[in-house]
């Protein structure tokens, strides 16, 4: 079994009466690219800062390779951080910034200088080594921040939304680079973001966080295809939530009645119970068929052109609107506005959620 790099055990963080993180437990594995994903204000940054040592925790423990570090000040923890706004020291050139941590660890100038050159080479900034941060572009500053945090060879690297200040094209390039660096160095990365695409493309595992609680932990595919609750289904990607009456949940399968009266059996999330519930169906897993062949019937109300795809919104009889994603390829049948259509999806495409 792989070693656990960071073990957060029943951790709670309160600010006065406000609970920022409530009884959070997470095990982040050695050499893992782990992402904390959630909307702003959900507590993901607080969790990262608690691991770095900038926030005291109210209850619980944080272990780093088995050692409890919750009471250590930040400068005694063998982890380094890439800050959201980089926080490069403005009066030091790039090399001095990268060397700072190494010198604090007691390395001599020559050793630290050699290591700094090595890391700067890794992030392709060798030619900017004697510039001041203010003389660099946003993307270059971001690399310096990364180099500075990597230089001391931390056991765990913490990244606080490091890509949010970059423009789209650059962000996409840096994603691959970050992944590559993680694989090359073998350092455990804990990455905080609110951008689900970032999380899905880069991470080995993702923890979805909302309202100070961990909602679901798993690989990208699991999070996307088997969300445990309404929040995760809604936050990651787009989804259709369909109100259903659940008559029975057995062996992980739910039998339910769809709004049109059709009976349907599909997988259920752990913890789902009989009663009124929600099915989650991704727009790309819904197909348009003739009205009589569909599990659901409705009329199209809007079509949105998205380049590679087409979104068709269908209003069901009870007024609910579902979205169907069609690929824009030759021969795709796009129904007319207001046309009566049937909606169909396979058993595996739908999933009963925990509310």
């Amino acid at each position: 079994m792989t070693e656990i790099a960071v073990d957060v055990v029943n951790m709670t963080k309160r600010y006065g009466n406000f609970v920022a993180l409530s009884n959070v437990s997470l095990s982040i594995l050695d050499n893992e690219f782990f992402t904390l994903l959630g909307p702003s204000g959900c507590g993901k940054t607080t969790l990262l800062r608690a691991i770095a040592g900038f926030e005291d925790i109210s209850e619980g423990a944080i272990k780093l390779y088995g050692e409890d570090i919750a009471d250590l000040p930040p400068n005694k923890r063998p982890v380094n951080t890439v800050f959201q706004q980089y926080a490069l020291f403005p009066h030091m050139d790039v090399t001095a910034n990268v060397m700072f941590g190494l010198l604090q660890l007691g390395q001599d100038q020559a050793t630290a200088g050699a290591r700094a050159a090595e890391v700067l080479d890794m992030v392709q900034l060798t030619e900017f080594a004697d510039r001041l941060p203010s003389q660099l572009s946003g993307g270059q500053q971001q690399r310096v921040a990364l180099a500075r945090a990597l230089a001391p060879k931390p056991k765990v690297l913490l990244l606080d939304e490091p890509l949010s200040a970059l423009d789209l094209k650059l962000r996409q390039a840096v994603r691959q680079e970050l992944q590559q660096i993680q694989q090359d160095t073998g350092i455990t990365f804990i990455f905080v973001t609110h951008d689900q695409e970032e999380a899905l493309t880069m991470s080995d595992r993702i923890a979805v966080i909302a309202d100070g609680e961990v909602q679901q932990v798993g690989p990208a595919r699991e999070i996307y295809e088997a969300p445990v609750n309404k929040f995760v289904a809604d936050f990651i990607g787009e989804t259709n939530l369909i109100d259903v009456a659940v008559s029975d949940v057995m062996n992980g399968n739910a039998t339910c009645t769809l709004p049109g009266g059709a009976q349907f059996t599909c997988p259920a999330a752990i913890g789902a119970v009989a009663g009124n519930g929600h099915l989650s169906v991704r727009p790309e897993r819904v197909s348009l068929v003739k009205p009589k062949d569909g599990l659901l019937q409705g009329s199209t109300v809007r079509q949105t052109y998205l380049g590679t795809d087409m979104h068709v919104d269908v209003r069901l009889k009870d007024g609910e609107i579902l979205t169907v994603r069609l690929q824009n390829s030759e021969g795709t049948d796009i129904p007319e506005q207001g046309a009566l259509v049937g909606l169909n999806f396979e058993t595996g495409a739908a999933r009963l959620l925990v509310d």
């Binding site: 400068n75 380094n80 951080t81 403005p90 009066h91 700072f100």
Partner: protein
């Protein structure tokens, strides 16, 4: 119409060119009237001959400067030896001003730090409290300071009643009193510029330093101080320069024994005993010393600190 456009923009340019000189006028008048004229007048006076009932005789003389640096005996015909009296006064002034700057920095930096790290409205309240005493005339404040620290003043009586001392401490007319007066007068000039630079400090830098294994002391020395250095230098100059030429605090709190440059100059222009050219010369020497300090500062600034 098509041809009209470049023409009108051309005439606009010339209009503004004419206005430019006009708009500069107030600045030139200010600088001329309040800077060049008075300083020029002092410079000229310092090279004139003294008139015995105050005032000057329009006759070129180096006597004022000679009096400052050389002693030629009672009748002025002995071989010149270095005159130490005024140099000592200068030395004492520099020492006192330097000490005042030092104490203002030691107290002012934490104060500025404290205010800058308060949140929202609290910040304004603290800044407001710092400035309140300065709504009162400096003379009044210096005199009240004299009242506070005299032998049977409130401070001594309080210390006596608490049994901390058995006899009143003699504070008035000592270097300590002058120092206290200078410190009290100029503290805000240290606090405000440092506050301004600490306010711009991004505390993420401190977090980054801690994250990179720096202790608090290292963070202060290598990250915070370089960042707020311009504020500290500005504060030091704003305290040192006026302290050097101060005359209220040394006069009222220090007495005759603790004479400083400011009092020396003031005396030369007071009543019939004065010596205008000598006062002007002392002022000129003081001014050139201040210029040296300011040049040093400008050099430091242009070397580039943190913008």
């Amino acid at each position: 119409m098509a041809g009209g456009l470049p023409k009108s923009s051309e005439s606009n340019t010339s209009t503004y060119a004419g206005l430019g000189a006009l708009l500069m006028l107030p600045s030139w008048v200010m600088i001329g009237f309040f800077l060049v004229l008075p300083v020029g007048l002092m410079l000229v006076y310092s090279f004139l001959t003294k008139e015995f009932r105050g005032g000057v005789i329009w006759e070129f003389s180096l006597a004022a400067y000679d009096q400052f640096f050389f002693d030629r005996g009672l009748f002025g015909d002995d071989p010149p030896v270095i005159e130490w009296t005024y140099i000592k006064i200068f030395w004492r002034s520099i020492w006192q001003a330097g000490l005042a700057t030092f104490f203002c920095l030691i107290i002012g930096f934490p104060t500025a730090w404290f205010i800058a790290t308060r949140t929202g409205a609290n910040k304004s309240i603290w800044l407001f409290l710092i400035t309140i005493p300065y709504w009162v005339n400096l003379l009044i404040r210096t005199i009240s300071m004299k009242f506070l620290i005299r032998d049977n003043g409130p401070l001594n009586e309080w210390l006596l009643s608490l049994g901390i001392i058995s006899d009143p401490i003699h504070m008035i007319n000592t270097n300590f009193a002058v120092q206290l007066g200078l410190f009290y007068s100029y503290l805000p000039f240290m606090v405000l510029p440092i506050y301004a630079s600490v306010e711009r400090y991004n505390f993420a830098f401190s977090e980054a330093a801690a994250d990179l294994y720096a202790s608090r002391l290292t963070t202060l020395r290598h990250i915070i101080l370089p960042f707020v250095k311009p504020g500290i230098i500005a504060g030091c100059i704003l305290v040192f320069v006026p302290s050097l030429g101060a005359f209220l605090a040394p006069d009222l709190l220090g007495g005759a024994k603790n004479f400083m440059i400011g009092s020396l100059i003031e005396e030369q222009f007071k009543g019939n005993a004065g010596n205008w050219p000598f006062g002007a010369a002392v002022s000129m020497i003081l001014l050139s010393m201040v210029l040296v300090v300011l040049t040093f500062y400008a050099r430091q600034q242009s070397k580039g600190g943190v913008r």
